[in-house]
């Protein structure tokens, strides 16, 4: 930290962090204004301060943390599965015209299907517990990742693959060692979208049928008009989004070190 260069970099980070806080604070400001001006009944929109106080109380509450943990684990498992599937299929399809010819029509038909409509089938085959919810997350999150991977892989500069193949890399290894890293910028963008979709869908699944998780807390509170309690899971998911964004940013910086756009 004593190195002045380090200080410059750290202060630049801080400055960017502070910038990012501005619109969020603005949003909270608007929220407060709406409440203060009586533009929304408190039964629908409680004051930010009230929500914050309840959040702080809940974030220390083991029961709440248990629910948050359930949601988080579903989210993590579902998202990672979608990532592996989406990237795997995308890379394979980009490499082989045969696979692509099969994958493309399937994607065309399956991607736009509202997966909630399949949820009854998921529940009845996979049960009420985690599996059906995770399946729903995967079914929705996989397509943004897959589409981004497909496109990214199709745009890989062929001479990179040629260079690797000529160095003795087998076609299959070239997929892992050239196409995959060269596609990373696209994949990370797809992953970011997939992550957001996962957040939404895990909530949705928990709202439709659940006995635990943040989504359950939310419907439970909404049904009985516990508006403040309803906002706590919402804030939690927002905060989670923010956290994951930071994590993705870090991963991006590391993984894309050499790419020109990470300058």
């Amino acid at each position: 930290m004593s190195d002045p260069r380090e200080r410059i970099r750290v202060s630049a980070r801080l400055r960017e962090g502070a910038l990012g806080l501005l619109p969020i604070l603005g949003l909270v400001g608007i929220w407060q204004a709406v409440v203060s001006l009586g533009l929304a009944p408190p039964a629908l929109l409680p004051a930010p301060g009230t929500v914050l106080a309840r959040c702080l109380a809940q974030f220390a509450n083991p029961e709440f943390l248990g629910h948050a943990g359930a949601t988080l684990s579903r989210l993590a498992v579902g998202f990672l599965a979608a990532l592996v599937l989406g990237v795997g299929i995308g890379i394979l399809a980009a490499a082989s015209p045969g696979v692509l010819a099969v994958v493309r029509p399937l994607v065309r038909v399956l991607a736009p299907v509202p997966k909630v409509a399949l949820y009854p089938a998921f529940i009845l085959t996979l049960g009420f517990a985690d599996a059906s919810k995770i399946a729903l997350v995967v079914a929705d999150a996989v397509f943004p990742i897959l589409l981004a991977t497909l496109q990214g892989a199709a745009m890989v500069e062929p001479k990179l693959v040629w260079a690797a193949r000529a160095a003795g890399t087998s076609p299959r290894a070239a997929l892992l060692r050239v196409v995959l890293p060269a596609t990373l910028p696209s994949i990370l963008t797809g992953a970011r979208i997939g992550l957001v979709v996962s957040c939404i869908v895990v909530f949705l699944a928990e709202m439709i049928t659940s006995t635990d998780g943040l989504g359950y807390l939310l419907v439970r509170a909404a049904r009985s008009f516990q508006t403040v309690d309803m906002f706590v899971p919402l804030i939690a998911i927002s905060g989670l989004g923010l956290l994951l964004n930071g994590a993705l940013g870090l991963a991006r910086g590391r993984l894309l070190r050499g790419f020109p756009e990470e300058g």
């Binding site: 193949r165 000529a166 160095a167 990373l184 050499g258 020109p260």
Partner: protein, 277 residues
């Protein structure tokens, strides 16, 4: 045509050729469906251990020819055999150095150079040690940890060169490998390449725009016509080896070769599009 220009038929040299190119044509299909002829009826045999340079006007198909020999691009007609077997794809026996470098942007200089060795199963420590030596040889010591985007054009070119030399392919397919270098660095690397070649007797197919470079390095020089590229002449460079630049410059045969080749190149006038394949 100068008396020194000895057009050779595609007839095989004494030994079975290492690279046998026969009746090779290539036409690219463009977006609008039309065909654009890049190469036409190329026939050329390269013996094992031979150093063959290719000269020709910009856009005449030199790079395309290397791509086809490398197995990266399929020809429209004709065939290439390497070591007797038809080329169906790339292989570690033929190492390309691309005109556009094609470095892996996610790897450092060292990572790029060590790539081929790692791909062939050399343990990391050893691969890196050998890569480090090559990086030094191309004059980039100290830049091992730089990423391609942090390098100048000439530095990238040298990394690309080192990357291919590192895994020691039997055949080198080099596309203007010294094009972006200053005279001094180029001379040094030419000498290094020549020393390497004289030691290991690699087969080299070398695209260049430098007539003197071609004459200095090669056993034979192939001159191509403008687009669609055909072979116009194949010139034997009957200069003694080992060659030293200073001596050669005083050798009248060297001068005559250079002048003859320049003369042959003179009457091309750049490529002409839409040649029917």
């Amino acid at each position: 045509m100068s008396a020194l220009a000895v057009p050779r038929a595609a007839g095989a040299p004494a030994a079975a050729p290492q690279i046998a190119i026969e009746g090779l044509s290539k036409a690219f299909r463009r977006r609008d469906g039309t065909l654009h002829a890049a190469l036409s009826e190329i026939a050329l045999d390269v013996a094992e251990g031979e150093f063959v340079s290719i000269l020709g006007p910009s856009g005449c198909g030199k790079s395309t020819l290397l791509y086809i020999v490398g197995g990266f691009v399929a020809p429209s007609a004709g065939a290439v055999r390497v070591g007797g077997a038809p080329v169906t794809g790339p292989g570690p026996d033929r190492g390309p150095v691309f005109q556009e470098f094609a470095l892996f942007p996610w790897k450092t200089v060292l990572g790029n150079v060590a790539y081929g060795l790692r791909a062939q199963g050399v343990p990391r420590r050893e691969a890196e040690a050998r890569a480090r030596a090559l990086v030094a040889q191309v004059g980039l010591s100290g830049f091992e940890a730089f990423y391609p985007k942090e390098l100048s054009g000439g530095m990238k070119q040298r990394v690309a060169l080192a990357r291919t030399l590192a895994y020691d392919p039997a055949i080198l397919l080099m596309d203007e490998p010294f094009g972006a270098l200053d005279a001094h660095t180029r001379t040094r690397l030419q000498n290094d390449l020549l020393a390497l070649w004289e030691r290991d007797r690699k087969t080299v197919l070398f695209v260049t725009h430098g007539v003197d470079e071609a004459v200095f390095l090669s056993d034979r020089v192939v001159v191509m016509t403008r687009s669609p590229g055909r072979i116009r002449a194949v010139v034997d460079i009957d200069l003694p080896r080992p060659r030293h630049r200073a001596e050669l410059l005083l050798n009248p045969r060297y001068q005559r070769h250079v002048i003859a080749l320049e003369g042959m190149l003179e009457d091309g006038d750049g490529p002409r599009p839409g040649g029917r394949p």
